[in-house]
Symmetry: C2
Subunit: 319 residues, 2 copies
Amino acid sequence: MGLLTVTAEAGEEPQGKRGLCGAVLFLPPRSRLHTTQVFELLSVQLATAVWDILLLQCSPSYTRVACDKAAGSVVARTMGSRRRLLLVSNSTLHGGTYLAHCQDHIRAFLGEQVKRVLFVPYALHNRDAYAKTAREKFESLGYGMDSIHESSNPVEAVRKSEAIFVGGGNTFRLLKALYDNGLITEIRKRVLEDGTPYIGSSAGTNVATISVNTTNDMPIVYPPSLSALGLVPFNINPHFLDPDVNSKHMGETREQRITQYHEELDTPPVLGLREGSLLLVEGDKATLLGVTGARLFMRGKAPTEHMPGEKFSFLLMDS
Amino acid sequence: MGLLTVTAEAGEEPQGKRGLCGAVLFLPPRSRLHTTQVFELLSVQLATAVWDILLLQCSPSYTRVACDKAAGSVVARTMGSRRRLLLVSNSTLHGGTYLAHCQDHIRAFLGEQVKRVLFVPYALHNRDAYAKTAREKFESLGYGMDSIHESSNPVEAVRKSEAIFVGGGNTFRLLKALYDNGLITEIRKRVLEDGTPYIGSSAGTNVATISVNTTNDMPIVYPPSLSALGLVPFNINPHFLDPDVNSKHMGETREQRITQYHEELDTPPVLGLREGSLLLVEGDKATLLGVTGARLFMRGKAPTEHMPGEKFSFLLMDS
């Protein structure tokens, strides 16, 4: 295998992966490149290349990408990420208390090794009050909690965290604050490379995905991009709502809105997570938890219904 | 009155207004400047200035702005715009057909002088089908219709238009297309300076306001800004929906979403237009039409209810 060394166009060069890689190339998520394009990017000619398998660093959402010369194409494909995510549709279920409907899942997810959780309260205006609510809940589950807004150095707080919980509220406000505080890269690195457990609820689930294009929230502020943490290569629509056949309101149904998204080119799958549903992601495996099921929307296909316990690992691989 | 000539920082220098103006200064919408800041912007010292009243050109949403030295402050204030707007909450009312609930208002608004209307179908994916629907309706009302997507030069189509109708759909898609086609400045100029009648429905109403921060739509694409046409200096929330007391859904109510917007600094009023409501704007006068009323949200104040026939002219002045 010939070793090619290239300068990355964006992002940081991955640490400790040079031994695995024939070359390092940074690609946007969901990249699909013909091998000739790869060679153009690498500034070498196909004829002069000597290699069998090229391992690529793909930014932002993929750990490594396999490129097989024989296949004639490169498909961005998550390989070997250490990620562990618990993506919750909603913080509070009707008639219940804060996080009560998913507290057993949270405990099972964090286990006994995690002692303290870092809370990200950016999605709500009153961060102190929000942190108090979250802290009381997590302490009742046996975990200490630090809120990132109480830290003088948010990036360092992420760097030191054992686990991260990003709460719900307004997705635009949350994403803008993540960018403003320089946290996108650091959270992504901790989750994808270090395996730091990530819990997201509602807006915190939106920002965990490839983009916030399928949030339900009002765009009360303007983030520098709709691209999000990209911990998974698809979109989630939290609080997914089935059409109300008795409604006289003429605004678009949720399904119509997601269909409009899929009228745009190259849009990824959207998993509509009903209130009461959660998605557990462990490496390259994804499992639907909770009681209410989910509805999956793929561009150009009819939506499909999915029951608790079903696997969604194909959404992680088929990018 | 001393004549000060300054170079505008943004936008075009207004045509034909030099005779009226002591100085020309471009300000963002809702600007509130102390006079000393105005002089800083004009690069002159307070002591050396000789003036009584300074007329300022305010971009993007104000025609002219009065600045009184004695008052000690400058408040951006719409003066003398020739605008005529009919801003409709929704295209179709439950149980009705396309634009049926507001067709009498459209006819009264356009009158008999307008012969042809320019349609902007950018908010929906299938522009041909959308133009067909709109054309059939407007022809039934006695107006010819051209669709801007059928023109090889959209800016020129706006320039020649007798009246403009911007249809509903996805607000983000619509706003991005207006920017992509270079239409923001041209539509604003035609409406504010030439008095070209503008009809907006749903997303078309959103983009007529100062920004799309209070749209209900999903951010399926990323426009270069959330600032919109700025034909009025406040926000509208179309399809405004009162809370459903029987709902078990835990997503934010419309009122909660608007309240979150007003948690942000310097956010303008939001007029929640229920389905079946319209706002008629003529120069500096605004009147609520339709049958369902509206709910007005002002930052730091309790929301207020408003009945058809009420005047909202203060929203145009108190900026």
